[in-house]
């Protein structure tokens, strides 16, 4: 590995001195892409998110909370208890709460109304701990039921349009000591960090590649991340204030991404390095 890095560095130097792109460096990038693609293919059958989804299924059917109820009557937008394809159509505007909700905040509503669980137990928890871990497992179970569907959110309610505009603003809004916006990394084609390709989230294809493959299991850390977790970490990497769990800015960004990605495939739960 060390040797390979050195080699890449050397070819980069040669290229810089020569003032032209080194074919060796290009070939190296291509073979790395192929290696990653092969790795993804090898592991595609064994996405450990399945294990998390299994726990989520059990939690979904378990009677919990002060009201001692399960979540089986939870309405994610397609009717009580309908899970198939539900997350492909989220975020959406819900009349009963009068809010635009993503999957996590809608699940919070169900936990509160059906089970009597205080949303604060999730909102104030740490990632992958306590009730927030429960939330992640539920998310894994729900999104598995939308795998293979098309991203299809309903943009007709004016509340959705408002959220879209807010999300667009947040996407281009620069902040923090580095003056980063989402678009700093995700507003150009062909960008990458290390070997991780960064989708251009302004385009339909890029947004679909991003939005359509989250939530996901991250092999490097052995953790299942929800979209709320993913977006929160983008803010952390931006070195700016991290948003409150389920706050409007996270939902607005989700609406912006899902609307841009409309029609793209839902490949959830995803599998990331």
């Amino acid at each position: 590995m060390r040797q390979k890095k050195l080699y890449v560095l050397l070819t980069a130097l040669v290229a810089a001195v020569g003032g032209m792109a080194s074919p060796a460096a290009l070939a190296d990038k291509a073979s790395d892409d192929a290696a990653i693609a092969r790795y993804r293919e090898m592991i595609a059958d064994g996405n450990p998110a399945e294990l998390v989804a299994g726990q989520g299924e059990e939690l979904w059917k378990t009677k919990r909370g002060p009201k001692n109820a399960s979540l089986e009557k939870c309405d994610l937008g397609l009717g009580p208890g309908v899970l198939k394809g539900a997350s492909a159509k989220l975020p959406r505007y819900f009349k009963d709460t009068g809010r635009v909700q993503d999957l996590e905040t809608r699940l919070l509503t169900c936990m509160e109304t059906l089970q009597g669980i205080d949303p604060k137990t999730v909102i104030d928890a740490k990632w992958l701990k306590g009730e927030r871990e429960t939330m992640a497992a539920l998310v894994a179970y729900v999104v598995t039921q939308s795998n293979g569907q098309k991203i299809d959110i309903d943009m007709t309610p004016p509340q959705m349009k408002k959220m879209y505009e807010l999300g667009k603003m947040a996407f281009y809004y620069r902040s923090g000591p580095m003056d980063f916006a989402c678009t700093t990394c995700h507003g150009d084609t062909g960008k990458r960090i290390r070997l991780q390709d960064l989708p251009d989230l302004r385009t339909q294809a890029g947004a679909a590649a991003g939005w359509g493959t989250w939530p996901a299991y991250r092999v490097s850390s052995g953790e299942f991340w929800t979209m709320q977790h993913r977006l929160n970490d983008c803010y952390r990497q931006q070195r700016t204030a991290e948003p409150i769990f389920g706050s409007d800015v996270t939902i607005a960004l989700s609406v912006f991404l899902a609307a841009t990605a409309k029609g793209g495939p839902v490949l959830t739960p995803g599998l990331k390095r």
Binding site: G46, L51, G54
Partner: protein, 104 residues
């Protein structure tokens, strides 16, 4: 802590059975430290074996170089639809788990 079940899929094609196993395990190496600086104790699978009906078809030694929630795929000759495939592991704490599936 109770262990979670393994996901086992087995399929026979042209006389060869391919088994795919997704194992739920922390696979903690004992080299990592937690936020307080204390070493997280090692906890990993040491042995794993697989049986086709009652015949052992795979034995293996696992260690700390294997990832959390590992995925294992292997093939053996023989096996017919409906036959039982069972996979067992044992970890360094002495815990064991066995799950089984029918060949599809």
């Amino acid at each position: 802590m109770a262990t979670n079940p393994m996901k086992i899929r087995a399929a026979n094609k042209d006389g060869v059975t391919e088994v795919k196993v997704l194992i739920s395990h922390e696979m903690e190496t004992g080299q990592r430290k937690d936020a307080a600086g204390a070493v997280i104790p090692a906890w990993f699978i040491t042995e794993l074996s697989a049986k086709h009906n009652d015949k052992v078809v795979l034995t293996s030694e696992f260690g700390t170089s294997i990832s959390k929630n590992p995925f294992l795929a292997f093939r053996f000759k023989g096996g017919a639809k409906g036959d039982k495939v069972s996979v067992s592991w044992k970890d360094n704490k002495g815990e064991t788990r066995t799950d089984e599936a029918a060949i599809a």
